[in-house]
Amino acid sequence: MPEGQTVDHKQTVEAARKAFEQEFGRFARFRGSNNLDGLTLVEAEAAQRELVDARTRHTGKKSALASVKKLIGRVAAEDRADFGQQVQQLETEIVASLEEAEATLKEFISVARTERERIDVTLPGTRPRRGHLHPITLLRQRIEDIFVSLGYAIEDDREIETDYYNFDALNIPEGHPARASQDTFYTTEGFALRSQTSTVQIHAMERRTAPLRMIAPGRVFRRDTPDATHNPMFFQVEGLCVDRGITMAHLKGTLSEFVHRLFGPEIKTRFRPSYFPFTEPSAEMDYSCFKCGGKGCRTCKGSGWIELGGCGMVHPNVLRAVSIDPEIFSGFAFGFGLDRMAALMYKLDDIRLLFENDVRFLEQFN
């Protein structure tokens, strides 16, 4: 093998290096350089694709490097190690250059893509519009939950009633002022729209007899012209507890417990004598204002107290009307209005809003 050939081989290696360096020149800025100012993601991605081609051209089967590598076997034995080393070094250089550039681009593209895909996390979340329960329903459900946990059943019954259930059975005989037709709606057939949920007391006692505990939330009707504080239809909750040995102490305990659970343990209660035809003794229950704590404010009209509603021991005539012996059983009953309570809780200054169903109003309750 002629001596000069070794030299030729060396030149071949140099030529291959030159060729690579020449082409790689445009990628040189990605080698170890962090100065990529002005580079766009699109350019970087194009460069990345070109690099893949470049790698194939310079390291693939048809590359100059591959040709040079094939020469190793043909080099004189004594030069072979040296030549092989040179080829090896060339390969290392080429691969290192490519990889370095690839890594730089990859990193740049990753950062740039992350930036491009950055979102405004403060835009509103995607969710279907959720509707809102009516404030009366919200309050009613809370009250039902409290009384169910106190051992009460939830009852309901008719809204159009006979005079018997609306009045007679409740110890409101004919001629009683509470029976005056100017306060009660009547159908043309002479039936009454129930003017209090106490009617459910009677139905429930007839159905279940004593002992029993129940509350009856529902609509009631009175002939009031609508204004800021009156509606001809409103919602009441009636409560009844009949058992052996029930006293007014239990009435006070039950309603106080209720108010504490609804408004908080700091709320005070007050019971004062009152009058209802269907209870004797009767009481009016007040609770300390939840807004001012009893000091006096607009919500409680300066008195520090808010009226919850009427209550008392079930009148013996009412018990007798449903065949419960008042000598064996005693019971308490109470009733209060939901609308006014809701009005106080939500600071409604006009309760007509409750039945206008303005979406802007309904949306405020949750």
């Binding site: 519009r129 509707g131 939830i154 039936f191 505990r213 507890c241 102490a249 003794p281 949306e363």
Partner: protein
């Protein structure tokens, strides 16, 4: 009612300051609404319950104060007056209806000088909001507020033959009352008449003709007890409410008739001069009696939890003027209630006390009434606060729990809950098709339940459908600039009973209404308008939340809904329960709606009673499902239900499911046609189906569909 603190103290010398007294009275059941300063006096505004007319005077409130503070009530003292001659020499009294007027007393004062009242009297009256007129009129008013007995002064000279006849009004009789209004009376109304005509409306108001004037010299002072029901009826029918009627209709103290008259006459003589007759003509044909009420002391504890010693019970009740039966004779109250004591008095038994209520108390009938008196004056605040022992578990009505789930499902679909009045305008009669349950009723002419005395103009119908209220709510929202509205409501609907005289039918209904945009304005996603399927989906969610089998929807024609966009809704067992669709143009026009409004109403009573879906586990198949999609070009009138039913009818053994992938209508399809893509699922329980097998089954189904619906396969 207004009570002057100074005036009150003349009757019961309370040691309590005005505001403290107000607080204590409130806790006794005399709710003081406000305390106002009035010069050197304070005025207490008391809101009395209807059972305590006895407290509609300073004397009445003084009795409560006296019992509270262990004081004695001092009756007002009058100066000695000149008296001469008997009343019978000047007048006569005849009661023609003793039921309506159990007692009537007349006394005459002659030679009075009508003039303005002295300052102290004017001041007293003005403090409690009363207007001064002249001395005699003011005195009757004064005694009314002092002792609770309404009085009336007639000009004796103006009474024909100076006679008093208490009788019912004659048919067509007219009377011009003091307020100058001529009133037409009916024959059930009680009047005070003279020999010729009615001169006063008994217990309500005097007549103009016999009114006191500056020329009056002799006055007849009337003091009487009238039947409460009679006075209430007269006042109500004539739309009058006076200081007198307010007291008579609740019940006055019939034993106070002469005492109040005496007080009045004495004041007239003192302030207007004149000489009184020695006596009054007191016609009292059937003396009234108070009931005897017994009290077992242990009942106080049984009902209130208060332990009150017998001696304390006696102290409270006698302090309030009750007479204990075996001690009646020892009762020494100056303003004694002897008049009302029954002749036969039982002797108190060992464990039982008996009391006669004072004549001014109209509210004491039974033992529990006495228990309340004892509890009131012991103090409700002394009653313990404890929860009763419970042997009963609380429970929701099963229907309430279902309703709660249903509401949550509908809320999740974006519907707000509405509540409307139960009465609606009769103008909507016949505009809406009622729920199937009321279909029979709606054929009758008298199907609506109507109010005889509605309070909102026009609102005379008890609603037979919730839609009227909901559409009104939609209109309200449109008028206030909200165009995206989704509302639902649950509530009773009414129809009259098939047979007359029976209670109307009541059912619960669920109604939904939706209109406007389907998405929130500020959220991502292209906005689109709400459509039929949004509403249908909400209803389906509601049924699913109530654990019902899927509802069925069939094309239907319904009066208030638009043809071609209407479905009848049925339970899985086929029972029809309601309708859904787009509001008909005529109805929408009536409400002036310019955008599409979708409504649905279903019978909630039926939904609540419907069979619940039962959950039974189905073993998971070990073999894979093979799916094949098919797109068919069919006439638009061919429904998905038609296609699916045809697939089911084919009963291909391993075809497990057929469902919709999508529908397409567009310009590139022939007019009147649409493309429906179905996905058919095939699976065997015992092996993996081979492609050739599936192809064979699938082709069978596709061929059937092609033939049956004249469908073209789209590729």
């Amino acid at each position: 009612m207004n009570i002057s603190y100074n005036w009150l103290r003349e009757l019961a010398n309370t040691s309590l300051a005005p505001r403290e007294l107000a607080e204590r009275l409130t806790m006794l059941g005399l709710a003081v609404e406000g305390v106002h300063e009035a010069g050197d006096d304070y005025v207490l505004d008391i809101d009395l319950t209807s059972n305590r007319p006895d407290c509609l005077s300073h004397l009445g409130v003084a009795r409560e104060v006296a019992a509270l503070e262990n004081l004695r009530v001092r009756l007002p003292e009058s100066k000695p007056k000149p008296v001469a001659q008997l009343a019978e020499e000047f007048t006569s009294v005849k009661i023609l209806d003793a039921d309506l007027c159990p007692r009537y007393a007349a006394r005459v004062v002659r030679g009075v000088k009508i003039a303005p009242s002295p300052d102290w009297l004017v001041k007293r009256l003005e403090a409690i909001g009363q207007r001064a007129i002249n001395n005699v009129a003011d005195i009757t008013n004064y005694v009314l507020h002092e002792m609770g007995q309404p009085l009336h002064a007639f000009d004796l000279a103006k009474l024909t033959e100076q006679r008093i006849v208490v009788r019912r009004a004659l048919a067509g009789e007219k009377l011009t009352t003091l307020d100058g209004v001529e009133r037409e009376l009916d024959t059930q109304m009680l009047v005070i008449a003279d020999a010729a005509r009615a001169v006063a409306l008994a217990g309500v108001m005097g007549g103009e003709d016999s009114e006191i004037s500056e020329a009056t010299e002799d006055v007849l002072i009337e003091s009487a007890y009238f039947n409460p029901d009679s006075v209430r009826r007269t006042a109500r029918i004539l739309g009058m409410r006076t200081e007198a009627s307010n007291r008579f209709e609740r019940g006055t103290d019939y034993a106070n008739v002469l005492r109040a008259q005496e007080r009045c006459v004495a004041l007239v003589c003192e302030l207007a001069g004149g000489v009184a007759t020695e006596n009054a003509i007191d016609v009292y044909p059937r003396p009234l009696k108070q009931p005897i009420v017994s009290l077992r002391p242990e009942r106080v504890e049984a009902l209130t939890g208060l332990r009150v010693p017998t001696a304390e019970i006696e102290r409270i009740l006698t302090g309030l003027g009750f007479a204990e039966c075996d001690s009646v004779s020892t009762s020494e109250e100056a303003w004694s209630f002897r008049d009302g004591i029954p002749e036969e008095m039982p002797v108190n038994l060992h464990s039982q006390m008996s009391f006669v209520a004072p004549t001014w108390r109209v509210d004491i009938e039974i033992e529990e009434d006495l228990v309340e008196e004892v509890a009131r004056h012991t103090g409700y605040n002394k009653i313990a606060t404890e929860l009763p022992a419970s042997g009963i578990a609380g429970e929701y009505q099963p229907s309430e729990l279902k309703k709660r789930s249903m509401r949550q499902a509908v809320l999740a679909c974006g519907f707000d809950e509405a509540v409307n009045f139960s009465f609606i305008d009769a103008a909507h009669d016949g505009m809406f098709e009622l729920l199937p349950a009321y279909a029979e009723e709606s054929k009758r002419e008298d199907n609506f339940v109507s109010l005889s005395n509605s309070i909102i103009e026009g609102a005379t119908r008890m609603r037979p459908t919730l839609l009227v209220g909901l559409l009104e709510s939609v209109r309200h929202n449109f008028n206030h600039g909200t165009r995206d509205v989704r509302l639902f409501e649950t509530g009773r609907i009414f129809a009259s009973a098939p047979t007359g005289g029976e209670l109307p039918l009541e059912r619960e209904s669920l109604a939904l209404v939706a209109t406007g945009g389907a998405t929130e304005e500020n959220l991502a996603g292209a906005p689109r308008e709400i459509n039929f399927y949004d509403l249908k989906g909400a209803l389906e969610s509601a049924a699913a939340a109530m654990n019902l089998l899927p509802l069925k929807f069939d094309e239907a024609s319904v009066r208030h809904l638009r043809e071609g966009q209407t479905a009848a809704i049925s339970l899985s067992d086929g029972k029809q329960i309601g309708y859904i669709g787009r509001l008909a143009e005529a109805v929408a026009a009536d409400y002036k709606f310019k955008q599409a409004v979708y409504v649905a109403e279903v019978d909630l009573t039926d939904l609540l009673e419907a069979t619940q879906a039962t959950v039974l586990y189905t073993p998971l198949s070990r073999f894979p499902i093979v799916t094949r999609d098919v797109s068919l070009l069919v006439a638009r009138r061919v429904t998905l239900a038609n296609l699916l039913q045809a697939v089911r009818d084919e009963a291909v053994e391993h075809c497990r499911e057929a469902k919709l992938v999508g529908t397409y209508e567009g310009a590139n399809l022939p007019e009147g046609k649409r493309s429906v893509t179905l996905r058919l699922e095939y699976r065997a329980d015992d092996r993996t189906l081979r492609d050739e097998e599936v192809d064979q089954m699938h082709n069978q189904i596709v061929n059937t569909l092609e033939e049956k619906f004249d469908a073209q396969l789209r590729v």
